[in-house]
């Protein structure tokens, strides 16, 4: 490679803030033509923000981008496409009811006499599919009938049909079978030899080892290392990805006393729709069990399955040792089961934003504060005041809309709402996302207190610090199954990341997934 040549693409000093959170901080990236460049980093390290800026989806607060040495700005994804930068996002952009050929040429179809030229379009599709190594996909097949892996191939073909100079793949192989992945690799290598620059984001270390020429590690919104592939060992890479100072304060954990009682919640071979595969776990009273692993490995689905939201769940769920059939959230929260779920998105699943704090707080316990259907305002008031005090919810008045509260206080309202149910099993779906540090500390203390009063807690978090600080045990999920169980002192960041990435790390002393009870 001619060292004097200008790199194909360069990003310099890019920063992006979302509210109070710095997603990207003076990030740099250099992309060369004819190279496959891998990007690694944990969730929230800034990779997706970086990509979105490159693909024209968001604009950076500061910094600049250079293509062929010339500065450019993208006003929209279409502009980025024009410049030759095409991104294949994780979320597919295919139209389900249209055919593969229609989707590939969706935004700029070949025309004849003002109408779409179907024959030319079909040719384009066949060429693109061949280029992507997916000749087996018929151009006339409706996309909605294709399995997810085929759809991802169509998405790749669609990107290739736009003749990109820089192709970005964001976890583009996550749903592909091993055979497909091999085919895609052949294609990617061929594209590389044709002079394309490829950016490859993936968590699969073995893929990166096979494909990448250069690697860049992101951490906390910054580019912390760029090196030639093979220069660093897997363990060194994992160390680069972690390495944050502990800024959270966690209350001390108390070891659980031995007990004859059956676990409050037990799950045996829970499976669902190919997304959950024979998961087994058990949670005792007073225990905090964490769910770890990369995003999208089935953690959210597991919580939904426990709460009765999913249909067609096979396997057993036992509460206090007795089999329980949970067919809906209203059954889950009933007194005999006593389950609560703090949902993923507080704005669309946890709260009714325009409604008052009072109404939101009492929404899950309406049956307990009413007599024969009529709300007893006095007992409602009493319970609400208790909760507000317990959680230190800061609000100007309980009759104002809950949408006016800060994110942290909103989340407190959601939790308070469920605590009013006096649940014995508490499921939390990434509860501290987008919350200020002060509130987080309060929540950790609350969790510990709840555990000490005998609740069984299942806690999914994308923040490793929290899993380490709050949980007695952590189940690391990969592809819908429990990959590893980490216990007590064995819960370390290295072990968490290692097992999430499916890499064996040294000196862990971890329990294998086949053991489900301590």
């Amino acid at each position: 490679m001619d060292p004097v040549a200008v790199p194909l693409f360069r990003m310099e000093g890019a920063s992006k803030r979302y509210g109070g959170v710095k997603a990207l901080e003076k990030a740099d990236l250099t992309v060369e033509a004819g190279q496959i460049h891998a990007i690694l980093g944990e969730n929230g390290a800034g990779k997706s923000t970086l990509i979105k800026i490159m693909a024209g989806v968001v604009e950076p607060d500061e910094g600049r981008m250079l293509l062929d040495g010339r500065e450019i700005k993208f006003a929209s994804p279409a502009a980025a496409n024009q410049a030759g930068i095409v991104c294949i996002f994780q979320e597919l952009s295919l139209i389900p009811d249209l055919s593969v050929a229609d989707n590939i040429s969706i935004s700029n179809p070949p025309k004849k006499f003002g109408l779409i030229d179907r024959r030319a379009q079909r040719k384009i599709a066949e060429e693109a599919l061949a280029r992507a190594g997916a000749e087996d996909i018929h151009p006339l097949a409706p996309v909605k009938d294709l399995p997810l892996s085929r759809r991802q191939m169509v998405e790749i073909a669609k990107a290739l049909a736009r003749s990109p100079r820089v192709l970005i793949l964001d976890e583009a192989t996550s749903a592909l079978t091993a055979a497909d992945v091999a085919k895609v690799f052949v294609v990617l290598k061929r594209l590389r030899s044709e002079g394309l620059a490829l950016l490859y984001i993936s968590h699969r270390m073995h893929e990166i080892a096979e494909l990448a020429d250069r690697c860049t590690v992101f951490r906390n919104g910054r580019n912390v290392a760029t090196y030639r592939a093979g220069e660093k060992s897997d363990n060194e890479v994992v160390e680069l990805m972690i390495g944050r100072e502990y800024s959270h304060v966690f209350p001390a954990k108390r070891p659980l006393a031995a007990s004859d009682k059956p676990p409050v919640l037990e799950v045996r071979k829970l499976s669902w729709s190919g997304r959950l595969k024979e998961i087994s776990l058990a949670v005792r009273a007073g225990e905090v069990v964490g769910l770890g692993g990369l995003d999208g490995q089935g953690q959210r689905e597991l919580l939904l399955a426990l709460f009765g939201v999913l249909r067609g769940v096979s396997g057993e769920i036992l509460v206090d040792g007795a089999p329980a059939s949970i067919s809906s959230p209203s059954a889950a929260k009933s007194r005999s089961i006593g389950m609560a779920l703090i949902p993923e998105d507080r704005k669309t699943e946890g709260l009714m934003l325009p409604m008052s704090v009072r109404v939101n707080l009492s929404f899950a316990t309406l049956d307990r504060i009413s007599r024969r259907g009529v709300v007893d305002r006095a007992s409602e008031r009493r319970l609400i005041d208790e909760m507000i005090e317990l959680l230190a919810i800061r609000t100007d008045g309980i009759d104002g809309p809950v949408g006016a509260l800060s994110g942290g206080n909103q989340q407190k309202v959601v939790i308070a709402k469920w605590l009013m149910v006096k649940p014995r099993i508490i499921l939390l779906n990434d509860p501290t996302r987008g919350i200020d540090v002060g509130t987080k500390v309060e929540l950790y203390q609350l969790l510990r207190t709840l555990a000490e009063t005998g609740a069984a807690i299942v806690f999914y978090s994308t923040d490793y610090d929290e899993l380490i600080g709050c949980c007695d045990r952590v189940l690391v999920l990969y592809d819908g199954a429990v990959k590893r169980v980490l216990v007590g002192d064995g819960i370390t960041e290295r072990a968490l990341i290692g097992s999430a990435l499916n890499v064996a790390t040294q000196g862990d002393g971890v329990a294998m997934a086949s053991e489900t009870l301590v």
Binding site: M352, P354, V359, G373, V375
Partner: protein
């Protein structure tokens, strides 16, 4: 701790506007003729408004859920025709005429509710279909002719009589229905569930509310109220008539929307619907007094609804 100031702040701008328009109309009317402000006239208007009021109450409940009920025209007719039919079935029939009519409406409402809550059909479509079925049933029942049955004495009493201090019974009936609705919406768990579902059905479901049941029951109530409206109308005219409910669909939707309820659901106070009903009734009355034909009236309805929606009902740009 609500002070006077807080009360004013809480006043819904749409409701305030609606009441403002009522005052404006009365003022304009009084310019035309001073009898517009006479108590007799006003009481008469309120009586006529009661019929629309009862029907609009059911529509409001459905709209609060974020749905719509287009089966009003023929469910109203079912109420009127079935109750008058029952009257003709002997003394027990006459005694049970009113409950029977309401029950028929509830039955049709249940079909709507099943379609929306359990089959997840768009409410507009299923209610349109139920409307067609109801029409078909009534055509068969009446043989295509105008129904000849007359209303029961009870029906005529509640629709045309005056008891308390000369206040029309119909108005008392509306007040009772309205009072019960306000109680339902503000003091019961069911009412809270309605607002919650209209706001964010997802969140209501995940909070453990039996959302399907609430939707089903709400549509059933709406059907019953539409039928009850038909019973009142039949009592007023002493008999039912073909297509008697057609003139009530658009005004009932308009009344709810003009009263500040969001067409998307989750927001709205009953007092607003009351204001909307009175506003529309006055509008109708004035238009007929100045002898505006039906054509103009239709156009004005449409324009007013759209104008109000553009002011209060637009979706956010973020979509």
């Amino acid at each position: 701790m609500t002070t006077r100031g807080a009360l004013w702040r809480k006043a819904d701008p749409a409701v305030a506007t609606a009441f403002g328009c009522i005052v404006l109309l009365l003022f304009l009317g009084s310019l035309y003729s001073s009898s517009f402000l006479s108590p007799d006239y006003l009481l008469q208007q309120l009586k006529v408004a009661s019929f629309l009021g009862v029907i609009a109450t059911g529509m409001m409940l459905v709209i609060l859920l974020g749905q719509i009920d287009l089966s009003v025209p023929w469910v109203v007719a079912v109420g009127g025709m079935m109750s008058t039919a029952a009257t003709g079935w002997g003394p027990t029939g006459e005694a049970l005429a009113i409950p029977f009519g309401i029950l028929c409406g509830v039955g049709l409402g249940l079909v709507n509710g099943i379609g929306v809550a359990y089959l997840r059909l768009p409410s507009m479509i299923i209610t349109l279909a139920v409307n067609a079925v109801a029409q078909g049933l009534m055509v068969v029942h009446t043989g295509g002719f105008s129904p000849q049955d007359s209303s029961s004495a009870a029906m005529r009493f509640i629709a045309t009589g005056h008891t308390l201090l000369g206040i029309p019974n119909a108005l008392i009936v509306w007040a009772a229905v309205g009072g019960a609705t306000v109680f339902l919406l503000t003091r019961t768990t069911f009412g809270r569930a309605i607002y919650g579902i209209g706001n964010r059905e997802r969140a209501a479901y995940l909070s453990g509310i039996r959302t399907q049941r609430v939707v089903l029951v709400t549509f059933a109530i709406a059907g019953g109220l539409s039928a009850f409206g038909g019973i009142l109308l039949a009592g007023y005219a002493s008999k039912a008539a073909q297509a008697m409910g057609d003139a009530y669909l658009l005004p009932s939707i308009a009344a709810v929307v003009l009263g500040g309820a969001s067409i998307l659901g989750g927001r709205g106070k009953y007092i607003g619907t009351v204001a909307g009903v009175i506003l529309i009734t006055l509008l109708q009355s004035i238009l007929s007094v100045i002898q505006m034909e039906e054509a103009g009236r239709q156009i004005i309805y449409g324009v007013v609804i759209i104008a109000m929606l553009l002011l209060y009902g637009r979706e956010r740009l973020a979509r």
